[in-house]
């Protein structure tokens, strides 16, 4: 017998921020070797695209898993307001002691959005540039998905 259908809703958001990849646990030479150009002392920036995917029952009254206005407002408040046109290293407390790679950014954004009340956060996928992307689906996921 077939398993039930599952529906997920994906929404893409954009923000621009600067960062510098540098670890206090490494020497100057090691930082330079490991992070290359990304270790340049004054940092650089990206236009990040963040894909937020949620799941849940589709409400028969609205046809929706979650009202997009609610999701947009939640993401605005918990992510965009904190990250857009900021320095990830300087302006985001989580990155004072953690290297703001896009891997860590996925985890940070997942933590910030996982309590969205109207649906279950399934995963965060971030395009740092058009050529590379990263995904995180929480600690207990069976694996990240595309």
């Amino acid at each position: 017998m077939s398993s039930p259908l599952k529906i997920e809703l994906g929404r893409r958001y954009r923000f621009s921020a600067s960062h510098r990849l540098h670890s206090a646990h490494l020497t100057e030479e090691e930082n330079c070797r490991v992070f290359g150009k990304c270790n340049n002392p004054y940092g650089h920036g990206h236009n990040y695209v963040v894909e937020v995917t949620v799941s849940g029952n589709v409400d028969p009254a609205t046809g929706m898993i979650a009202n997009l206005a609610d999701l947009d407002a939640y993401v605005e408040r918990n992510m965009l307001d904190e990250f857009d046109l900021k320095s990830l290293n300087e302006d985001v407390p989580a990155f004072r002691d953690t290297v703001p790679t896009t891997e860590n950014l996925c985890i940070e954004i997942f933590q910030r959005l996982k309590s969205f009340p109207s649906a279950k956060l399934e995963r965060i996928r971030i395009e740092e540039t058009g050529k590379n992307s990263f995904e995180y689906a929480g600690e207990n996921s069976e694996g990240n998905r595309q």
Partner: protein, 143 residues
């Protein structure tokens, strides 16, 4: 297992309104999407089929056949149509991305006999999509 994805685009109009709610509630919940004259989108549909390549043809399924199925089941039903009025499968449902993707899944699943339908992803715009798949199947887009 191989995943094979075909993409098509169709354009359709819709609006969101639940007749069992008051006009005020409809406006509050659906906002601009409640405009009674409707509005439209260019939808992009990605249909992913899973299976093993046939040893003779090297194919999971004949792409031409998949193209014909999508033409018959989706394009002819939905392209340049008003989703509220012209698609019987959506009658009584709000034509959101979530509901349309489920309707498309239910239309396609029995028609795909070579390989198995793995995922339906419907983009309403580049920034909004719904995925429909069988729960418990492997993650969407993944083997």
């Amino acid at each position: 297992m191989i995943l094979l994805t075909r993409k098509i685009e169709f354009s359709a109009s819709h609006f969101y309104n639940n007749p069992s709610l008051s006009p005020e509630e409809n406006r509050r919940i659906f906002g601009k999407c409640n405009n009674p004259h409707g509005h439209g989108h260019n939808y992009t549909l990605e249909v992913t089929v899973e299976g093993e390549p046939d040893p003779v043809t090297g194919m999971v399924l004949d792409l031409k056949e998949l193209k014909d199925i999508l033409e018959r089941e989706v394009m002819q039903r939905m392209d340049h149509r008003h989703l509220n009025y012209e698609v019987p499968e959506l009658t009584g449902q709000i034509p959101t991305c979530e509901n349309i993707s489920r309707v498309i899944w239910l239309l396609l699943e029995p028609k795909i006999t070579q390989g198995k339908l793995h995922r339906v992803r419907l983009y309403e715009s580049p920034d909004l999509f719904a995925d429909c798949f069988r729960n418990g199947a492997n993650a969407p887009g993944n083997s």
